[in-house]
């Protein structure tokens, strides 16, 4: 938060950004994605590496729900969101800044813009999930600074089916 963040430009993504965004999501999540931990524990899943699985998130998202952060004409971060007309709760989705551009408040600016877009879409609440592991501490602090309050905590378990301890007879 100490470095200069003045030259950051935020804009809504367009279809032509998609390949850039796929590179950004893979680079931005390389040190923090569950897909990678799963692969480290169980090996390659379904014949595709973790980065290919993660890239799918960006291949399938509605491009209008993506904001890009640029500096000197280079895309260095992004944030995605979804809205739910029924609950009027908007969700902040995948978001990341390239490792070498972190600590300048770019993530905070992206998050603030996404919250504006969610509010403009008529949502009353914004929701976001992040990890409880140490590598997500900067993300948790960012959300708490933005005024987010904890709603609940959850755990994901996994197992190789051949390792299970009880069988159905």
């Amino acid at each position: 938060m100490t470095m200069n963040a003045a030259e950051i430009t935020l804009r809504t993504a367009i279809e032509a950004d998609r390949e850039t965004l796929i590179d950004l999501i893979v680079q931005g999540f390389a040190d923090v994605t569950v897909n990678r931990w799963r692969e480290e524990r169980y090996g390659i899943i379904g014949g595709r590496t973790w980065d290919e699985w993660k890239a799918d998130d960006m291949r399938t998202i509605d491009i209008n729900n993506v904001v890009i952060a640029e500096t000197d004409g280079k895309a260095v971060g992004f944030a995605t969101f979804h809205v739910n007309e029924r609950t009027r709760i908007g969700t902040v989705g995948n978001n990341a800044v390239l490792p070498e551009y972190r600590g300048r408040g770019i993530g905070g600016q992206l998050d603030a813009r996404v919250l504006e877009l969610i509010a403009e879409a008529g949502m009353e609440f914004a929701q976001v999930s992040t990890g409880l592991e140490d590598c997500y501490e900067p993300a948790r602090r960012m959300y708490e600074r933005q005024g987010f309050k904890e709603l609940n905590r959850s755990i994901v378990y996994m197992m190789r089916l051949s390792d299970r301890l009880e069988r159905f007879e």
């Binding site: 509010a119 409880l132 378990y157």
Partner: protein, 161 residues
């Protein structure tokens, strides 16, 4: 887990079970919902009921019956691309808990996943104290923690943007 569970029958749900199943799901989750009061959770609950429960795919649901009465259910999904089966919503009516019915449902679900060609199983549950017995049940079957997460919520100001 100590009480007798010999009379429990596990069977696959059929279309004719839909109304019973919806009532069962709503009742089995009611006490969880009551512990999590608040406007946001009420909305999420109502949305989940309307969107998810009422359109549930009965082919991916199994029921636990005790003396001809449905007392629990479990649902699952399979993903042929990843080979990962997901244990979805599952619950036992409050007055029938502690008899191992949930574990019997889970064991059957894992078998159905294996039969469907899955290599892995994955499940999510809460980290709060009310989910302790669910966590213990998963761990006893061999599930290993992969990731822990927190969900945050924020009320947006009316005039934002």
């Amino acid at each position: 887990m100590a009480k007798q569970d010999a009379k429990v029958t596990i069977r696959r749900a059929v279309e004719a079970d839909r109304a019973t199943l919806i009532k069962l799901i709503v009742r089995a989750y009611e006490d969880v919902r009551e512990r999590q009061s608040g406007e946001v959770l009420a909305r999420i609950w109502n949305d989940w009921k309307a969107n998810h429960v009422c359109s549930i795919d009965v082919d991916r649901v199994i029921l636990a019956e005790l003396a001809g009465k449905e007392v629990g259910f479990a649902s699952y999904r399979v993903n042929a691309a990843t080979g990962i089966g997901i244990v979805d919503d599952n619950a036992v009516l409050p007055e029938y808990r502690g008899r191992g019915i949930g574990a019997q449902l889970l064991v059957r679900i894992l078998q159905l996943m294996e039969d469907a060609g899955m290599e892995f199983a994955q499940v999510s549950t809460g980290l709060e104290i009310s989910y302790m017995s669910a966590r213990r049940m998963y761990e006893r079957q061999g599930f290993v923690p992969l990731h822990r997460s927190v969900t945050y919520i924020k009320k947006l100001t009316q005039n934002a943007g």
